[in-house]
């Protein structure tokens, strides 16, 4: 993808998600203090930072597990800071988890179908008789899951397999599939390539780019693989000790002195990138 296209999509689109002066503390521990950033529609935004910087706390606040002490989360122009996770899901906020959160007792197909839960209308009575709406909805859902998601993510061969028995990389892919089934407007990926080898990482990066390009879904991700972050993201937000220390285009962030010093404990950023690319 050309740099020009990247820049144009970043600069013309309006923010779909806006985090405004968000603070979050657990007892005396301040996990986030006054964090503000925007995610532009149609972009890939990466949230990076050293361990314990508050990236996952930020994710949990956006998806509704944590109530922020102050500050607001604005999704598509509306303040969603007080909403419960299920109603945020209905608005089009989907996420995956760092330590895969699939339903291990179910097949791949059922896991993916669960993503559509909030958009289906079958009630208990329909379900008990499996007539009319229940049958129709299930068939439409199956067709959509098969033809749009399973084909796209290349997981046809495991559709009837039980999730618990799958290798790690495939489980991550199934979790992405489940999130896509939600027909999200913004997809939050918590370390999508953690623990993957080079090949699996490249596959996943390709899927993430395709999701953005073909499905038009905005992506917000937390990731430690600097090579991938710098390659595919349009905008990078750097957190350290619960505060935003830099944000901008990947190239700008890489050379930011505050970012370099934040990463100094574990080697400087440029070196880290070189290392991951060499590996």
């Amino acid at each position: 993808m050309s740099d020009g296209l990247k820049r144009s999509s970043r600069e013309t689109a309006s923010p779909i998600l806006k985090v405004d002066a968000l603070s979050l503390s657990f007892g005396g521990l301040r996990a986030l203090s006054g964090v503000s950033f925007e995610v532009r529609e149609g972009s890939i935004t990466a949230l990076i930072g050293p361990n314990g910087a508050g990236k996952t706390s930020m994710f949990n606040a956006i998806s509704g597990f944590y109530r922020p002490n102050t500050g607001r989360i604005i999704f598509d122009g509306e303040d969603i800071s007080r909403e419960r996770p299920p109603s945020r899901a209905k608005r089009g906020l989907a996420r995956t988890f760092q330590n895969i959160a699939l339903f291990r007792g179910m097949t791949v197909l059922d896991n993916i179908k669960l993503g559509r839960h909030a958009h289906l209308k079958t009630n208990v009575l329909d379900a008990l008789f499996y007539r009319g709406r229940a049958h129709r909805e299930e068939m439409e859902l199956r067709a959509e899951v098969e033809e749009r998601i399973i084909d796209f993510l290349e997981i046809q061969h495991i559709r009837h397999a039980s999730v618990g028995a799958l290798p790690y990389g495939l489980q991550k892919r199934v979790e992405l599939a489940r999130a896509l089934a939600m027909r999200p407007r913004i997809l939050m990926l918590d370390e999508p390539v953690a623990g993957m080898n080079r090949e699996e990482t490249e596959d996943m990066a390709r899927f993430i780019l395709d999701v953005k390009e073909e499905w038009g879904i905005t992506i917000l991700m937390v990731e430690h693989d600097m090579g991938m972050v710098m390659d595919i993201s349009d905008h990078v937000v750097v957190l350290n000790f619960g505060q935003v220390i830099a944000q901008g285009r990947p190239a700008e962030v890489q050379n930011d002195p505050a970012v370099i010093s934040a990463y100094l404990g574990s080697g400087d950023l440029a070196e880290r990138i070189r290392k991951t690319e060499a590996a």
């Binding site: 998806s63 339903f103 079958t122 208990v124 008990l128 299930e138």
Partner: protein, 346 residues
């Protein structure tokens, strides 16, 4: 042996019974259920009705405990609510039995939802204790309320169908078996749709269920309502079957019996509820037979029956937990897999 499965539509792939062999087995089962009352003696018809009532109730508990992961020790008390509802309606109002059964289900579902409210906050063992509290409260109400006849309970007339009194097991059989079959089929259908999937999602990982837009409280209460509906209808059939309902008819030990039935049968499978309830209901009868054979050699064998029964029950539960935690349903699946590959791989 199964060489391959060719399916040309999604509907075929999602069907409950997808092979011809399954349909043949199902037809045979249906046929034998229809012929059963004509060939079996009154005692075995009585047993069949009892098994069916227990299957209905165990399937209900399986929805709640096996599929939604909410441990309940209130199933027997919920059956009591259904039984009393039927008894009161039958003696005071005299509505037709089908309406009474539905009312019993509805009433019990409402009671179940009320006692299900703590499930949002407490899980596992703690929820089990909360449901024990529920059964004690219900027991107290049964034995102290005028409407339920106090400790003496209620006796009621038999169900009647077009003026024909269903007062014998071989007549009630035609009521109990179809109702149970419908209930089991309903439960199987449930888990082909979003409702059932949401239950399993909550059991497996409630946090990610919430992120997918599944409201926890509402879904858990739906599960409680459905499970109690099943208990209520089963309790209603129980009332028609025994025609005397007392507070002592539904002791806590019966709740443990249903929990044991789904553990032995297989939690979280429809087949598990059927197999478990059938097995647990028939074990005492088989023991009785065995003890009967032993009488010529062991003179006081009959007096040993009660303690032996308790020991065998306990041993079965422990044995299944250790050696076959997935229950009888898993054994059945293993047998099926064996024959899919037979005779090429054994």
């Amino acid at each position: 042996m199964r060489i391959g499965t060719l399916k040309l539509s999604y509907a075929a792939d999602e069907a409950l019974f997808d092979t011809k062999v399954q349909w043949i087995c199902l037809a045979l089962l249906g046929l034998s259920l229809i012929l059963f009352p004509f060939v079996a003696g009154p005692y075995w018809i009585y047993m069949a009705c009892l098994v069916a009532i227990n299957v209905a109730s165990a399937t209900g508990l399986n929805i709640l405990t096996g599929y939604t992961g909410l441990v309940s020790l209130g199933q027997a008390a919920f059956m009591g609510v259904g039984a009393y509802t039927v008894a009161v309606l039958e003696t005071r109002v005299g509505t037709p039995f089908i309406i009474n059964l539905l009312a019993a289900g509805g009433m019990t579902a409402a009671v179940g939802v009320v006692f299900g409210i703590p499930s949002l906050r407490v899980k596992g063992l703690y929820l089990a204790i909360a449901t024990i509290a529920a059964s004690m409260i219900l027991h107290f109400v049964f034995s102290h309320w005028d409407l339920t006849g106090g400790t003496r309970g209620l006796s009621m007339p038999p169900a009647s169908l077009f003026g024909l009194a269903l007062d014998q097991p071989h007549k009630l059989y035609w009521l109990i078996i179809p109702v149970t079959a419908l209930m089991v089929l309903g439960a199987a259908n449930l888990f082909r749709t979003r409702i059932g999937r949401a239950f399993i999602a909550i059991r497996d990982r409630d946090i990610s269920a919430e992120v997918l837009g599944i409201p926890l409280l509402q879904t858990k209460l739906t599960s409680f309502a459905l499970s109690s509906f099943y208990a209520g209808v089963a309790g209603g059939m129980w009332a028609y079957f025994f025609r005397v309902v007392t507070p002592e008819s539904f002791p806590l030990i019966n709740s443990i019996f249903y929990l044991a039935a789904i553990i032995v049968g297989g939690m979280g499978t429809i087949l598990g509820g059927i197999l478990g309830a059938t097995f647990m209901t028939l074990v005492p009868e088989v023991l009785k037979l065995v003890v009967g054979w032993l009488t010529p050699w062991v003179p006081d064998a009959l007096s040993l029956l009660a303690p032996i029964r308790t020991i065998v029950f306990g041993a079965l539960i422990v044995g299944f937990l250790i050696f076959e935690p997935q229950g009888l349903a898993e054994i059945w699946q293993r047998i099926r897999r064996f024959f899919h590959l037979w005779p090429f791989r054994t």
